[in-house]
Symmetry: C2
Subunit: 360 residues, 2 copies
C-alpha cells in the first residue's frame, strides 16, 4: 500500500551506475551513452520513479513554470482568458501556477514570493491596479507582463515590463462618439472610482470627455457616476453595485425633464446590474435609455435586450500575452506594449436618441 519513496539513488543502484548518470538521462544531457540512457529510462519507467521536484527546485536555478496572478477570479472576462493562457503555457511544456489575488492587495508581494519560492520564470498579471507598485516591481527578478490591466505602474520605465491591452481611452472614445452620433446628448458613464489616478475607469472617463470635446460639446460632470461614491467596497465591478448606484440616480432624476438618455457602463457586468435598475424605474431599454457595456462577455448576447458592448479580443490577447512573456523570458525579444483593437458590437440595447421610446 504505502509505496516507499523511490529516489534517484535507487535507480542508480538498480542500474549499476552512478547517480549523475541517471541525472543525465533524466535531463536529456548529451554526454551520455545512448544505450545506458535507454536502459536507465526503461528502469525508471518500470519503477514509476518521478524526480522529487522539491530537491530539484532546491538545486536548479530555473524551473519550467510561470505564475498567473488574477485579480477578480469571479469575473468571467478573466476566467475566459485563463483557459487560453493555460493551454498556451502547457503547449510550451511549462507549468502554470495560478493565484487569485484578494481585493486590496496588488499581488506584487505574492509575485515576489512566487519568484523566490517556486522559482517561476515569468509572471502574468491579469487585471488589477499597479499605479503605486513601481518600487516593488523593480525588485522582481523575472519578466512580467500586464494583461488587460489599465493601471500601469507609475514610477517605472516602460522598458521594464510588457503589457497587452486595448486602448481604453480610444475604445471609450469610440463608444461615446457612437452615442453622440446617434443623437444622444446627455450621456452618463458608470465607472468605478475617482480616487485612483490612472485606473481603467479613469482612462475610459478620459475617452468619454475627449469624445465630447471633439464634437464641440460640453461635459456634464454630474453625469459621471463613480461607484465608490455610493458603496464601500473594493469589488466595484459587481452587479449589485451598478444596480444600487443607477437605482439611486434614477430616483433622483426620475422626474427631471432632462434625464440622461444613454448610459455607458465600463464593464459588461455593471451594464447587467444597471439595466435591472433602469427597468425597475419603469424605463424601457433602449426606448427610454440606451445602454452600452464593455468587455464583450458572451452573456451580453443572451440577455434581453441584447447589449451593445465593446468586444475585447480575449483569445488573441491571451495568446499574445503568453507569447510575449516567453519571448522576453527566452531573450528572443525585449519588452513590448501590445495594444489590441476592440470592436463595438451594436446590439439591441442602443438606438438613435428618441427612437423606439415607449410612448406609443
Amino acid at each position: 500500500m504505502t509505496k516507499e519513496t523511490i529516489t534517484i539513488k535507487d535507480i542508480a543502484r538498480m542500474c549499476g551506475c552512478g547517480v549523475s548518470t541517471v541525472s543525465r538521462a533524466l535531463n536529456n544531457h548529451t554526454d551520455i551513452n545512448p544505450d545506458t540512457k535507454e536502459a536507465i529510462l526503461k528502469c525508471i519507467k518500470e519503477t514509476g520513479f518521478v524526480p522529487n521536484s522539491m530537491a530539484r527546485g532546491l538545486k536548479r536555478t530555473e524551473t519550467k513554470a510561470i505564475a498567473v496572478l488574477i485579480k477578480g477570479i469571479t469575473n468571467p472576462f478573466f476566467t475566459g482568458m485563463i483557459k487560453v493562457i493555460e493551454a498556451e503555457v502547457e503547449r510550451r511544456d511549462y507549468e502554470m501556477i495560478l493565484h487569485s489575488i484578494e481585493s486590496g492587495s496588488d499581488g506584487v508581494e505574492v509575485a515576489a514570493e512566487l519568484v523566490r519560492e517556486k522559482k517561476v520564470q515569468g509572471i502574468i498579471f491579469l487585471g488589477g491596479r499597479f499605479e503605486d507598485s513601481g518600487d516593488d516591481l523593480k525588485k522582481l527578478q523575472v519578466p512580467y507582463i500586464f494583461s488587460t490591466v489599465g493601471t500601469k505602474p507609475e514610477n517605472l520605465d516602460k522598458s521594464m515590463y510588457s503589457s497587452v491591452a486595448v486602448d481604453d481611452v480610444a475604445e471609450s472614445y469610440k463608444i461615446i462618439t457612437y452615442l453622440l452620433e446617434q443623437g444622444h446628448e446627455k450621456i452618463a458613464i458608470l465607472t468605478d472610482t475617482s480616487m485612483r489616478k490612472s485606473s481603467v475607469g479613469n482612462l475610459r472617463v478620459e475617452g468619454y470627455k475627449k469624445a465630447f470635446f471633439d464634437k464641440g460639446k460640453e461635459v456634464d460632470e454630474s453625469l459621471i457616476f463613480y461607484i465608490s461614491d455610493y458603496v464601500e467596497t473594493d469589488e466595484f465591478f459587481s452587479l449589485k453595485n451598478a444596480y444600487t448606484v443607477i437605482k439611486e440616480k434614477l430616483m433622483d432624476e426620475r422626474f427631471a425633464q432632462d434625464r440622461f438618455t444613454a448610459l455607458f457602463c465600463i464593464s459588461d457586468l455593471l451594464a447587467i446590474g444597471a439595466m435591472k435598475a433602469i427597468r425597475e424605474a419603469g424605463l424601457s431599454i433602449p426606448g427610454d435609455m440606451s445602454v452600452i457595456g464593455f468587455d464583450g462577455l458572451e452573456m451580453m448576447d443572451y440577455v434581453s435586450p441584447t447589449v451593445t458592448t465593446l468586444v475585447q479580443p480575449t483569445a488573441l490577447m491571451a495568446k499574445a500575452t503568453v507569447e510575449l512573456l516567453f519571448d522576453v523570458m527566452t531573450g528572443q525579444g525585449g519588452n513590448e506594449h501590445l495594444v489590441f483593437p476592440g470592436e463595438l458590437m451594436i446590439k439591441e440595447s442602443t438606438v438613435h436618441c428618441g427612437d423606439g421610446s415607449n410612448n406609443v
Copy 2:
C-alpha cells in the same frame, strides 16, 4: 538592485546565533528564549526573509498546503466557491494550490502529482466526474473531498472520501413538483448527457421522473433533452449549447398543439441560453413558457425576467468543504458526506400554467 537571496544562515549571522535557533523561532518551537525569539523575528521582518519552501519541503514530510482542482473555471458557480475556499484555507494558515482541470481529464492524475511533488495534505475536487476514477483515487495518499460533484466514484467505498453537495435528486424533485402543482403537465428538462450513468444531469433527471411518478403522471421521454445528442463538445454547460438545442426543439414543435409549457434547465447558464431561444421563437416567458434554472447564480436576479432557480448555499458549502477536509486531515474526524438543502427561489420566469399568456 539584485537583492541577493537571503537565507537562514544570513539571519543567524546577523543575530549572532546559530541557524537552529532561527529555525526554532520560525517554527514556533518551545525550547527557545522568548527574548532571542523576538529579536530573531524582528530581524526576519526587517530583512524580509522568507524561508525557501523547496528546501523546507525537501526536509519536511508535510507541507502546509492543499490543492483545489476545479473543472470548469469559467463557471461562475465554481469561481464563487473558490473565493470562500481560498479565504478559509488562508485562515488556517495553509497554502492553496489552485489547478484548473481541462475537460476530458478527471484530474485524479494531477492530484496524484500534486501529492507527490508538492506534498499537498489534502485535495478538494470542485466539479467534474469521477464515476470511473475509483482505482486511481485509491492510490491517493491524502484525504480528498468532492465538493458540488454529482458523480461520485463507483467502485470505491464511501468511507474513503468525503463529499459536500446538495441532493440532486431531491432538489430536482422539488422543482418538478412545484411545476406540476402550478398546473404544468408537459414539462421539459434540459440536461447534459445520457452517456454517463451517474452524472449530475442524470440524478436530476431521476428526480424529474420521480416527481411525475409520485403525482401519478407519466413521463414523456421525448421531453428529456440531452445536449450531447445535439452538440459534440465536452463543455455541455454553455449558453450556446442550450440555445442551440432549445432552438431546434422549438422549431420542431413550434406548430404542435401540445408544446411543453415549462422547461427545467439543470444549470442557470443553460437557462440563460435557453431563454434566448425561447424568445426568438416568439414565445413569452413566463406567459408561454415557464423556465427554471439550477444553482442560484446572482445573475439570475438581474436578467429580465428574473429567473426562478434552485439556490445552492455556495458559501456554506464552501466553508463546510474546507472544514471537513481539515478535520479529516488532522484526524479530528472521519470521512463524511454532507448534504445541504437547496432553496427554490420563485422569480418571474415561472407562473401557473396558462396564466399570463400573451394572447391578450
